[in-house]
């Protein structure tokens, strides 16, 4: 947490309403996202209780497991979920674009990709567990399941994996997305309650955010957004309904459980779509589309992997896989942080606060300055900026600027509140700098030590050459009946 966000939280306390901590939206928002609100039975590792799912706010599909401890009913739930989710996901495979690559063959990429919105981090984790418990199942052999079940498992595993990657928007947790854009007057812990968070951001008429959030904590007014249910609901409503189903599994008994679950799911369902509107109202940051392109590429590759009949994801990463995954996550985190700062002056302000960036006015410029003689003579325009920011820079530091793409400069001298830079990149190929490439006196500019060109990750061996000190090469996955026999009670 930065001092800037801490200050925003203080203001939220005083004003009774959430405060913006960005000026733009940093996540992609699909024109037609799919909302998935799952519930699970308390005390079990993974016993789906029901879910509301769909891409049409007015017509959610309600899935119900009348006896969550029954294994067959659980797989029926998975099959039903697959019926909704898979056609949505596969629908994006139809239209693709051809992407040219420098030094490589052109490849196909889907024009758009699915986006699944879940209420919170735990719901994304639930999706991952449901994926884990279904992807190894088989349509033949002992305990056969519907063929869509293992496929659903692989997709859910994929989405849950992506949801842990900073900047990826294929599966997004709503509380995390909202918290990335607004600061509330409560703690981060309490922000995990979707209803309370939305209450702070967009309180109902005649109520301030604090009051709305307090009301949202009453499980009778606002059922928890899941996957965990309210214990009072379990004991007073769900328990009797499930017992009634056990005694007589009639359509009426199923309806009673469905009715009970609907009361718990519907408020969250509406809240999810309200949250979508809140996010949609923010203007999109300029690098969001680029990140979504990465998501589309990843989606396309996984789609191909599934089509080629590749094996389901392993239970655990091998040593090389785990190291590569960690390195990729770290790169994604760093790149996401930098991109947000470049897209958003309010995010950049956090770095200005710590001295890693500054904004100021150009007081003088020498656009024709050169360095070296003869053939090694280079154009190095000089720019002096006056700033009130507490920049902490030393001569030689390399800087980038959100004002000009491809622009780079180096610190020459820091003298009180004046910083002199020499421009090193982004001036075009001519003998003089391209028009507009060098900031002019009077212009307001921002420079930062943050840059988005990261060194490629440390070289890792191929998985099949994993050294024995790291467990040796991972075993190749061979599907067998033990996977299906793995008890699921």
């Amino acid at each position: 947490m930065s001092t800037l966000t801490a200050l925003a939280r203080l203001k939220a306390v005083r004003d009774g309403t959430a405060q913006r901590i960005t000026t733009v939206r940093h996540c992609h928002l699909a024109p037609r996202p799919m909302v998935f609100v799952p519930l699970q039975l308390a005390g079990e590792a993974l016993a789906p209780l029901g879910a509301m799912v769909g891409a049409d706010p007015d017509h959610p599909r309600l899935l119900v497991v009348p006896q969550p401890r029954n294994r067959d009913l659980r797989f029926a739930f998975a099959a039903e979920l697959a019926e909704v989710l898979l056609p949505y996901v596969e629908g994006f495979a139809k239209t693709t674009e051809t992407v040219e690559r420098r030094g490589g063959d052109p490849y196909e990429r889907c024009l758009d990709a699915p986006q699944i919105l879940v209420p919170n981090r735990s719901a994304a984790a639930f999706a991952g567990l449901l994926g884990r418990s279904t992807r190894f199942r088989r349509a033949d052999g002992p305990y056969p399941v519907h063929p869509s079940v293992p496929l659903l498992g692989r997709w859910l595993t994929y989405f849950a994996d992506r949801s842990r990657r900073p900047g990826s928007c294929l599966m997004m947790s709503m509380t995390e997305a909202l918290s990335a854009h607004w600061a509330t007057g409560q703690s981060a812990l309490e922000d995990a309650n979707l209803a309370a968070l939305v209450g702070w951001i967009d309180p109902p008429a005649g109520m301030d955010g604090r009051r709305a959030a307090e009301e949202a904590e009453d499980p009778l007014l606002w059922p928890p957004a899941g996957p965990a249910t309210d214990p009072g609901f379990d004991n007073e409503v769900l328990g009797p309904a499930v017992r009634a189903y056990e005694e007589a599994p009639t359509a009426r008994a199923v309806e009673r459980v469905a009715q009970a679950l609907r009361t718990q799911l519907e408020p969250t369902w509406r809240l999810m779509w309200r949250a979508v509107e809140l996010l949609r109202a923010l203007p999109e940051g300029s690098r969001v589309a680029g990140r979504w392109e990465t998501d589309r590429g990843s989606f396309t590759r996984f789609l191909e992997l599934v089509a080629e009949g590749g094996p389901p994801q392993a239970r655990r990463d091998g040593a090389v896989g785990a190291a590569a995954r960690l390195a990729a996550l770290e790169r994604a985190r760093a790149s996401y942080d930098v991109q947000r700062a470049y897209d958003d002056p309010l995010v950049m302000a956090e770095y200005r606060l710590t001295g890693e960036a500054f904004t100021g006015t150009v007081v003088s410029a020498d656009p024709e300055n050169t360095e070296g003689e003869g053939r090694s003579r280079k154009l190095r325009p000089l720019v002096t900026v006056r700033t009130a920011d507490p920049a902490r820079l030393t001569p030689g530091a390399v800087l980038g600027s959100p004002d000009r793409r491809g622009h780079a400069a180096e610190v020459v001298e820091v003298d009180g509140d004046e910083i002199t830079l020499k421009v090193t990149k982004g001036m075009g190929r001519g003998k003089v700098a391209a028009p507009g490439a060098v900031p002019e006196p009077g212009e307001r500019v921002t420079y930062t030590t943050l840059t988005d060109d990261f060194q490629s990750s440390a070289a890792l061996p191929e998985p099949e050459r994993t050294p024995w000190t790291h467990g040796g090469p991972p075993e190749e996955y061979v599907p067998d009946d033990d996977d299906a026999r793995e008890e699921w009670s």
């Binding site: 005694e247 009639t250 793995e486 008890e487």
Partner: protein, 254 residues
């Protein structure tokens, strides 16, 4: 009908509020009211539906079903295992809840008219001669079989695994439920099962007997001591159903 549904929803909320506030008596009365409304709702929607059929009366009385399962196992067993055996080999549905009054009824029957029945379902006795929690035995078994030393739970578990396997091996078409039961048991006996694969009765018997050999002599000696003490100190009824806790102290070794 809508009004009824609204009332039910309101009542549910009130019940939960009362529970949260720990107003137990209020919660109880609200719950009662809620049940009445729910039944009314059930009646209103289900007027045309037939009532759920009464569960079929079992052909065999419960005590006889339990006796049959215990006879198969040959050692004191907990209701859960008895239910599992009954389910696996006789495809009958017993429920754990049906056991609650069983032992008490047997004791009452014995007290009012001793030895009138050919057998009684009785308790297994601990080394303090108190009834062992949750274990049932048969009165006609040898006294050493109806008492427990510290090793007996393991010995009895291994013995029952052997008995289940032997019974299974005799059946031309082993019921899948029984194979699953044996597999679960065998997984806890060294060398009796491999991974999740269905257990083979012959292997299971060999493995269980191998471990039994290790414990048998010590267990037999301990049981003989407890049985002798029970025979010496307890009246007939307590020899079957166990001494009350305080009474047991008289003869307890420690």
């Amino acid at each position: 009908m809508d009004a009824l549904e609204r009332r039910i929803a309101d009542l549910r909320a009130e019940v939960r509020r009362a529970v949260k506030a720990r107003e137990h008596s209020l919660a109880r009365s609200l719950r009662g009211e809620l049940r009445r409304m729910e039944h009314e709702w059930d009646r209103a929607v289900g007027a045309e539906e037939l009532p759920a059929p009464e569960p079929e009366a079992p052909l065999l009385p419960i005590r006889e079903q339990v006796h049959q399962a215990l006879a198969l196992l040959g050692v004191p067993a907990a209701p859960k295992l008895i239910v599992a055996v009954n389910d696996a080999f006789f495809s009958r549905a017993l429920r754990g809840s049906q056991f609650t009054s069983l032992r008490r009824d047997e004791e009452r029957s014995f007290r009012s008219d001793p030895y009138a029945r050919p057998y009684y379902l009785c308790s297994a006795l601990t080394d303090r001669l108190s009834p062992a929690r949750g274990l049932l035995a048969v009165s006609t078994w040898a006294p050493e079989l109806r008492v427990l030393g510290p090793l007996s739970p393991r010995v009895d578990f291994l013995t029952s695994a052997v008995r289940v396997a032997e019974h299974l091996a005799r059946l031309p078409e082993p019921p899948p439920g029984a194979v699953r039961l044996l597999t679960r048991m065998a997984q806890n006996i060294p060398g009796a099962a491999e991974g999740f694969a269905p257990a083979d009765p012959v292997t299971a018997i060999r493995a269980a007997r191998a471990e039994l050999e290790v414990h048998r002599a010590a267990d037999a000696a301990q049981r003989a001591e407890v049985a002798a003490r029970a025979g010496r100190l307890l009246p007939d009824v307590e020899r079957l159903f166990g001494a009350a806790a305080l009474g047991a102290l008289r003869g307890a070794a420690c």
